[in-house]
Symmetry: C2
Subunit: 392 residues, 2 copies
């Protein structure tokens, strides 16, 4: 990385987190000639693969963020588990911090998120906040909690962790420790995500909602369809919801909103993330302007790019094989490349773990083509093979 490069805009952008989302932010930024640096534990992380502007440090550590942020003009995140106090101080000191520390703080606490939805008139499943497992047992006794219910840890949950679905008394061993949200279980018809981007001047770009089909056993995404197969009215209502949410939050940057459609067609807010999101990976190839580029445009207060779809797509995550942990060799790549319209993204994580996100494939498709068949092929062929076995 040449330090002396003349940039499109002479602003230093610092991103907290250097995983795959950071890598894809950097890729979008390198096309536009932006100056982007990362803070995260190890420069072996995916973003470290494509830039040497990588500072090793802890994004949960106050001092590390202050030291990193002092050299930046604009600070953003690729993950919300960051030290918010440090971001507040940097914002006070005149740095552009997008999304705002206040939004990040709100998102970090699923209890506060739920209160925000309720206070601002967004439909969300009925809930109570409890401090301990004792409170749950008490609630079950006195009838304030009833089966089936969903328990979410207020802090630290991620990718299916920190969430328990308790269908009856026989599943009570799954209850998690600590302060949490107890929600009524929604009778889900579809899970939908919508991505909204807003710049400092208030310009908004809303991506078409996508449909996420989950593997119930692993509580992980099986595949994603874009656009979602929903009615025109639902589409409009979800766009309006996203617009209102971005406005109420005074968002600058990206916000992914995960929604349930229940069996009666109601749109129910589940949770949000104020950053690039897995549900927007397809936008790189399938939309006029991808989420990563629009994030950068937004935080630099440039005009936003068009979020419309160029081509329908299906997205499949490439997950670490369930039976292996350690150094990986990738397997099945040739078969994936053989699929028409397949865009392979490998993130560059040296260690594979069961169900770890190692990459994704976005398949662009036309009418005379079966994306579902491709999805099945990808899920069958992709494996992270133990290096020791591969070398034999």
């Amino acid at each position: 990385m040449s330090e002396g490069t003349i940039r499109m805009i002479e602003k230093r952008i610092g991103i907290l987190g250097g995983g795959q989302l950071g890598k894809m932010i950097f890729q979008a930024g390198s096309t536009m000639l932006l100056d982007i640096s990362f803070l995260d534990k190890s420069s072996d992380y995916p973003a470290g693969l494509i830039t040497k502007n990588f500072t090793e440090g802890d994004i949960a550590n106050y001092d590390d963020i202050i030291a990193f942020g002092q050299n930046m003009d604009v600070i953003s995140i690729e993950i919300e588990r960051v030290n918010v106090e440090a971001l507040k101080v940097l914002k006070e000191a005149g740095k552009d911090v997008f999304p705002s520390p206040e939004i990040i703080g709100l998102i970090q606490d699923k209890g506060d998120q739920k209160k925000f939805y309720k206070d601002h008139g967004f439909d969300t499943s009925p809930f109570i906040l409890v401090d301990s497992t004792e409170d749950i047992y008490e609630g079950l006794k006195n009838g304030s909690i009833s089966y089936p219910f969903v328990q979410k840890s207020r802090r630290g949950g991620y990718d299916g962790r920190g969430v328990a679905v308790i269908n009856g008394q026989n599943e009570i061993h799954k209850i998690l420790e600590g302060p949490c949200v107890i929600e009524e279980k929604v009778d889900i018809d579809k899970e939908i995500a919508v991505l909204v981007c807003r710049n400092k001047g208030g310009e908004v770009a809303i991506y078409d909602p996508v449909e996420m089909v989950f593997d119930d056993e692993a509580n992980l995404l099986d595949y994603q369809l874009a656009p979602a197969a929903i009615s025109r009215d639902q589409n409009i209502n979800i766009h309006e919801l996203a617009l209102k949410m971005a406005s109420k939050l005074d968002l600058v940057g990206l916000l992914a909103i995960e929604l349930f459609l229940d069996k009666e067609g109601n749109i129910i807010v589940n949770e949000m993330a104020p950053r690039p999101h897995n549900s927007g990976h397809h936008t790189i190839e399938a939309c006029y302007t991808g989420q990563y580029e629009n994030l950068l445009r937004a935080i630099l207060n440039l005009p936003l790019g068009c979020p419309d779809i160029i081509s329908p797509s299906i997205l499949v995550n490439l997950l670490g094989s369930p039976d292996y942990r350690g150094e990986t060799v990738y397997s099945g790549i040739s078969e994936i490349m053989n699929l028409r319209g397949a865009n392979l993204h490998l993130y560059g994580k040296n260690e594979t773990r069961p169900h770890r996100k190692m990459g994704h494939v976005t398949i662009l498709h036309e009418e005379h083509y079966s994306p579902h068949e491709s999805k099945d092929i990808i899920k069958r062929v992709f494996k992270t093979v133990p290096k020791i076995l591969y070398n034999e």
Copy 2:
């Protein structure tokens, strides 16, 4: 760049040349987790912006290429002005060199190129080879050369340099020194380019022909349309020509073929480049699989990606302002970003020169949209402003 990253394929890819084509090769490769290094004069060049795997050296120098290539498994080029002898030695030593040194050698000499077209039955404008300006004067006297004619230096021409169009005796001062090709001037209706990719196993992907509209004064591309507005039959004939050319050359990698359609509809081969090409920039966003990714797939003998168009596009080069040379500040970026479907690529060249390629914009468009209007806006707003003026 983490040295220890586990790659999709454990092969080191070395690219001769580190300009904007190299940068875009690297971007495609980083998504697929490939290990790509560059050789060129300065790591300040565009590819040096996104990787530290950049060796400073001269791609015309035998020793520099040998030293660089020894550490690689697969060697390719982003520009054809390289030392072919060194590549032959590396190939002999067992390295994969694609395109072959023989193809690169053929392309380096426009006289040999013309003989190849003639020998293999490709239509090309009638020509003679001459060694000096005296031969041209002699030819004009004895009638073997007549006005108007096109003179092309056999070696070293690039981007409109090394080409003179001599319409009559009053333009004879434009004649170039040295060995050259003298061609009959074609009565051009359209200038077309077609891009073909072929892997080691013989699999071929052919991109739809594009139409290049030239600015006659500067002898530079004004804009490019993809797909070209040509008949179905012309399309088929050009595909067949590309397929035959790739086969006759035993090509592995990419080949861009520039063609003339004359006023009678004949398809005439002008010249070729065995590498990623400006006429294929749009394929990054506008095709299922872009030229850069397909080059990498081809030289690694992976299945090729689908070259079909997802969306029509118009491409405009961002050229250095005609009145300025030196350190640049970019101007007009916001206006470009405001255009629906515009994809901005800035290459990262610190020094601007008159008409230097500083970047390009690919505009994806739908029916209800005027790409030509956008093209005019881009050409009006983009400027490389002298830094010294900008700071005042």
